[in-house]
């Protein structure tokens, strides 16, 4: 367990945070989609099946989210990564509980991202100030600051939430009444069909 908290989880959180920068900040090569983040995290955690299942489900649940204008959709990379870390990590949270927890964390990351985007407005002022002083904007420093802060915040978020939710969900799964466990498991069983309906609907009304 100590190795998980000291080495594995920090490294995996940092990896997820780095890949997550692809979703908005750099490239948009789609490497940050849950279809890739899920299986890859599962592979690194030693449970690729959980990675595939949670990655595909998160993809289906987030496929309709459009990053248009100032809207920030659910962070699918964080949702998939956290769900797989919870399920395939040291606490082995059942997938039925890890999946909604991942979705909640993906939605929670939106607030954090909003704050980081507000903070980034200051970088424009810095660039304008540098240009006003007659110097270059200092692109390399500005880029490292923007990407570095975003990735660090995301990594810290993933590490902190998985550290807290892992033991909490693992313990509460056994502690809650059987009816609550059945309810969560039922929703997880129906989940693929809800996701497939979302995927079909993503095209149907527009064709």
């Amino acid at each position: 367990m100590t190795a998980w908290y000291l080495f594995s989880l920090p490294a995996l959180s940092a990896g997820i945070a780095l890949v997550e920068t692809d979703s908005v900040l750099v490239g948009q090569w789609m490497l940050s989609r849950p279809l890739f983040v899920g299986p890859l995290t599962g592979l690194l955690c030693g449970d690729i099946q959980a990675g595939v299942v949670l990655g595909v489900l998160t993809e289906l649940f987030s496929v309709e989210g459009l990053p248009v204008g100032a809207s920030i959709p659910l962070n699918a990379a964080v949702a998939a990564g956290c769900a797989v870390l919870l399920s395939a990590g040291a606490w082995a949270v059942p997938m039925a509980a890890a999946f909604p927890a991942g979705l909640a964390l993906g939605a929670g990351h939106q607030r954090l991202e909003t704050r980081v985007r507000h903070w980034r407005s200051g970088l424009t002022l810095r660039a304008a100030q540098a240009l006003g002083d007659g110097g270059p904007p200092g692109w390399r420093r500005l880029l490292l600051r923007s990407l570095g802060i975003h990735a660090a915040v995301t990594a810290a978020f993933v590490y902190a939430t998985v550290s807290v939710l892992g033991p909490a969900l693992s313990w509460s799964w056994d502690a809650v009444p059987a009816a609550a466990r059945d309810a969560v498991s039922f929703a997880f069983e129906i989940g693929p069909w809800i996701g497939l309906a979302a995927l079909v609907r993503a095209f149907a009304w527009k064709v």
């Binding site: 908005v24 900040l25 750099v26 948009q28 090569w29 789609m30 989609r33 279809l35 890739f36 595939v52 299942v53 595909v56 489900l57 993809e59 649940f61 309709e64 459009l66 990053p67 248009v68 204008g69 100032a70 909604p100 979705l103 985007r117 507000h118 980034r120 407005s121 970088l123 424009t124 660039a127 240009l131 006003g132 007659g134 904007p137 692109w139 500005l142 880029l143 923007s146 990407l147 009816a179 609550a180 059945d182 309810a183 498991s185 039922f186 929703a187 069983e189 129906i190 989940g191 693929p192 069909w193 809800i194 497939l196 309906a197 979302a198 995927l199 079909v200 609907r201 095209f203 064709v207």
Partner: protein
């Protein structure tokens, strides 16, 4: 400039949105056409105003603005303010028009179509017993998505620069609406095939047969009524709780 367009959103913020990213993309061109540091400084400051578009489509705007800045640099001093105003207007119009095209094609059609085809590929290859189904599916997704995305970044830069203010007419020739419609049709076919395949071979812990079909039909019906995916999932949990409580 094409390589720099991959960083267009690296400084995305609520006030200027892609303003700093746009300047980063245009920066080498500004340095080239304005060797005088003061001229460069003034041009750079002009491009720190609000700008936003779809990230793959930004290269069209970069090429267009690059060509206009070149015109401005070559123009006599008296004509420059008018060209600056024209650049400002064109940037604003191009940003929103290109965003409409790009959002519809890349976010609304290609992304979900690639997701549907990848999951279907995984399912088919896995059922057929092909080795490394995940790797093949992932590779297919990345190629199918990124080839048009990277091509349009490159093509857009050239088109924006060479066609300048004639760009809207040239953009029409790329037949975006037709491409978007066909991509959606392919995506819908793949998504429908995936849904049917899942009814026969239930993956991801799903329920098979009639129960699955009923769940899919109910989810489709409720989605068409505007119930969000998250609410549907919460509703399924509530239904599960109800079933667990009434079960003898």
């Amino acid at each position: 400039m094409c390589a720099r367009s991959f960083f267009i959103q690296s400084w995305w913020n609520f006030e200027g949105m892609q303003n700093l990213g746009f300047l980063f993309g245009l920066d080498p061109w500004l340095h080239r056409i304005y060797p005088d540091p003061e001229e460069y400084r003034r041009a750079a400051l002009r491009h720190l105003e609000f700008f936003n578009t779809q990230p793959y489509m930004v290269s069209f705007a970069l090429g267009l603005v690059g060509a206009m800045e070149e015109q401005r640099a070559a123009a006599p001093e008296a004509a420059r303010p008018a060209i600056e105003e024209r650049i400002r207007q064109l940037k604003r119009v191009a940003g929103s028009s290109l965003a409409a095209i790009g959002d519809s094609f890349f976010w609304g059609a290609l992304k979900p179509a690639c997701a549907a085809m990848t999951i279907l590929t995984w399912l088919v290859l896995w059922t057929a017993g092909v080795s490394h189904p995940l790797a093949w599916g992932a590779l297919a997704y990345l190629v199918a998505y990124n080839v048009p995305a990277v091509w349009i970044r490159w093509k857009g830069l050239r088109m924006g620069y060479y066609f300048g203010e004639q760009l809207p007419a040239e953009l029409k020739k790329l037949r975006w609406q037709s491409k978007t419609r066909w991509t959606r049709r392919v995506g819908l076919c793949a998504a429908s095939a995936l849904a049917l395949a899942c009814l026969i071979v239930p993956p991801f812990g799903g329920t098979p047969g009639l129960k699955g079909a009923a769940a899919l039909a109910a989810a489709l019906g409720l989605r068409s009524l505007g119930v969000s995916t998250m609410r549907l999932y919460a509703g399924a949990a509530a239904l599960g709780l109800l079933l667990a409580l009434v079960r003898p």
